[in-house]
Subunit: 407 residues, 2 copies
């Protein structure tokens, strides 16, 4: 353990009045039945693995049957054409030129691709805020320490009251040994939306590259990847874009592409980012081919409406549960620092549970509520997700179940 700790001022929660206190109107009646989710479960965990509309699952089945009827035709002869066609709507939606990104399995693979491709020297530092996703923490620590460098996890407040706080965390931790800064666009355990443009500007002024881990960003917030100024951006498509599991992308700015390879080196080594990522062996590429179907489904609901619906639900949930549970909101109530994820310090008595998994299991087994509980540096966080199929009564039920646990 060679992490270096950096002190930051304690956070002071702010209770700005919310822009709205009412839940959003459903985008369409009976929308939940479009989805494959089991209606017996109160599914408040879109964030972990996403969920799929029925049309996406059916499209996948058609691709798999087509693949299995003529395996070589699909995966060999037609692959480039199919992947080019699959990338087009992704690039259009997220603001990426096709030559600057490739598909990967998930954002963690995107991070691994880049960090395994870079060469680090003893003394180098990799910097990230402490809201980092654990798999990425492990990747950064492992790869930099192997090279004799240092993993620096900057302690970052939660609750958080303003973007300034987050910019300051990075400003204070940056130094002339910092080789790369990795920032979650929307942090996994806390749901906090990071001011990535400001952090990128700050780092660029110091000549430090920034890698944005957008695991939760595509489909949750409006995104124009190329305009951000990052060196690297990875994002999942199987979360908020609702593509099949195993669909994600890695974007690399043109001047940084040389020498960036997938974690699994294969046939097209050194033939360019797009070519190299378009062939990663006999993996199942059908998740990538169905991203289009997921985009089409959400686009038919109206992208702006989807984003607004989910964000408004999150703001309402934040106010509802903060009040019901008597915990201060963890981000400003005006919703300016969240997308569709809201994390709360778990308010109930947790002494009867050995660990967060047991509490998660209790909520699932006893109440059929699917919601994650994270151990965030010793503090247990409960995180809601809001997707178009969610309804206000689901959060009210969660609120009551947790309230009962507090008795």
């Amino acid at each position: 353990m060679t992490s270096r700790e950096i002190s930051t001022p304690p956070a002071t929660p702010r209770t700005t009045p919310p822009a709205t206190c009412s839940p959003p109107v459903p985008l369409r009646s009976g929308i939940a039945t479009d989805w494959m989710l089991d209606p017996a479960i109160t599914f408040l965990n879109h964030g972990c693995f996403g969920a799929r509309p029925r049309v996406v699952v059916e499209a996948r089945e058609r691709w798999l049957r087509r693949y299995n009827a003529r395996p070589i035709e699909l995966l060999d002869r037609n692959r480039n054409e199919l992947l080019t066609e699959a990338k087009r709507p992704v690039g259009e939606l997220l603001g990426m030129k096709p030559e600057n990104f490739g598909f990967v399995t998930n954002a963690t693979e995107g991070v691994n691709a880049v960090l395994r491709s870079l060469s680090f020297r003893p003394g180098d530092e990799l910097l990230t805020p402490s809201h980092v996703y654990n798999a990425v923490r492990n990747t950064m620590r492992h790869l930099i320490e192997r090279a004799g460098g240092t993993y620096v996890e900057a302690p970052t407040p939660f609750p958080v009251t303003s973007p300034d706080e987050l910019v300051n965390v990075i400003a204070e931790a940056l130094n002339d040994r910092t080789r790369l800064v990795l920032i979650d666009h929307i942090a996994s355990p806390t749901g906090v939306l990071f001011p990535v443009e400001r952090i990128i500007t700050l780092c660029r002024e110091k000549g430090v590259d920034v890698f944005i881990d957008g695991a939760h960003a595509p489909g949750m917030i409006a995104l124009d990847v190329e305009s951000l100024g990052a060196a690297y951006y990875t994002g999942n498509l199987h979360k908020w874009i609702c593509a099949p599991s195993g669909a994600a992308f890695l974007w690399v700015s043109p001047e940084k592409q040389r020498g960036i390879h997938p974690p699994t080196i294969s046939h097209f080594l050194d033939e360019g980012l797009a070519a190299e990522f378009a062939w990663q062996g006999t993996r199942d590429i059908t998740p990538w081919l169905c991203v289009k179907d997921a985009i089409d489904y959400l686009a038919a609901l109206g992208w702006e409406d989807v984003l607004r619906h989910n964000h408004q639900m999150a703001m309402w949930v934040q106010q509802l549960l903060s009040e019901k549970w008597g915990v201060g909101p963890s981000t400003p109530l005006d919703g300016s620092m969240i997308g569709s994820l809201v994390s709360f310090p778990f308010p109930g008595d947790v002494s009867r549970f050995d660990d967060p998994v047991q509490l998660h299991d209790y909520l699932y087994d006893e109440h059929h509520i699917e919601i994650p509980i994270f151990d965030f540096g010793g503090q247990w966080l409960i995180r809601t997700s809001s997707q178009v199929y969610n309804t206000p009564d689901q959060y009210e039920r969660l609120g009551q179940v947790v309230l009962d646990l507090m008795k």
Copy 2:
């Protein structure tokens, strides 16, 4: 290019009389209809991406629907139990203890996992015969050269007349800089079965670890991985075991497991091989869950019968096409150096084709024959596969189509 070339004696083809000259009896009538393959295609390329029986594709659809109904339940809460259950029949069939292997996407990923985990020093050499699979060649070359070492590809004869030749290739190329020898159990472009036990014994005597790339071995030949004495063994399950694409394994001998990680580092870093490979993020794990169904299908036909059928077909094909095309057999006609893949120098006039892909496309577009053509060091090879759904008339048709090209 820092590869060092090593001279080997030219091969002298041998024409041992075959043990049998007749094709095998079908294992069951109408067996081809069990498979998802399009009957409009003469599918002689099981080797590249395998093929799936209908029951496996249907099992996969059920898993995907179950996953999409309760994503967290399957991929999080039930994952360990499901993967333990999925590994059991694989370990039993191939002779591996569950704690010594994990699932990967394909053999190339298995190779990448190990080679990315090892630390190489300037001067180190990675050695492999020139029958190596191109993606693995790229991986070895890239990773060793990055560390200042040398990739050594030992020129290996083809046609090949005896296992001795292959052992000698390695014996002559080994030296005190050799860090690791990688051997294809059954080589991809040539279909040659390597005498891996003898090569492992030779290398162990010199204190050099051996990595067996069994991309084609599981399901093609009888296999008892742990008894071979290799340091590492990777194999595909989506080829000759007929599991869904994206199903493979990496086995590591107990004394070599420390420090071996998946190419994508994730949550369970340093918690042991089995734990670490059992969670590689939000990838689709359903190919792994269906290996059992594929094994059950082939086991119901009788494993020994499946292996004997496919091998006998390959021996018959080798004799049939060698004679018809007037090319010497590339391995002994007694079948001792092949499994179910047979490669031939392409006998026809290829001057009308720009490259092997064009020839492949011609055979597919004009004759609906799916068969791969490889550029093997400037020589074009055509490679047949024999799986239980193949019938003698398919090879006779191929024979005639190629004969027509020779006119």
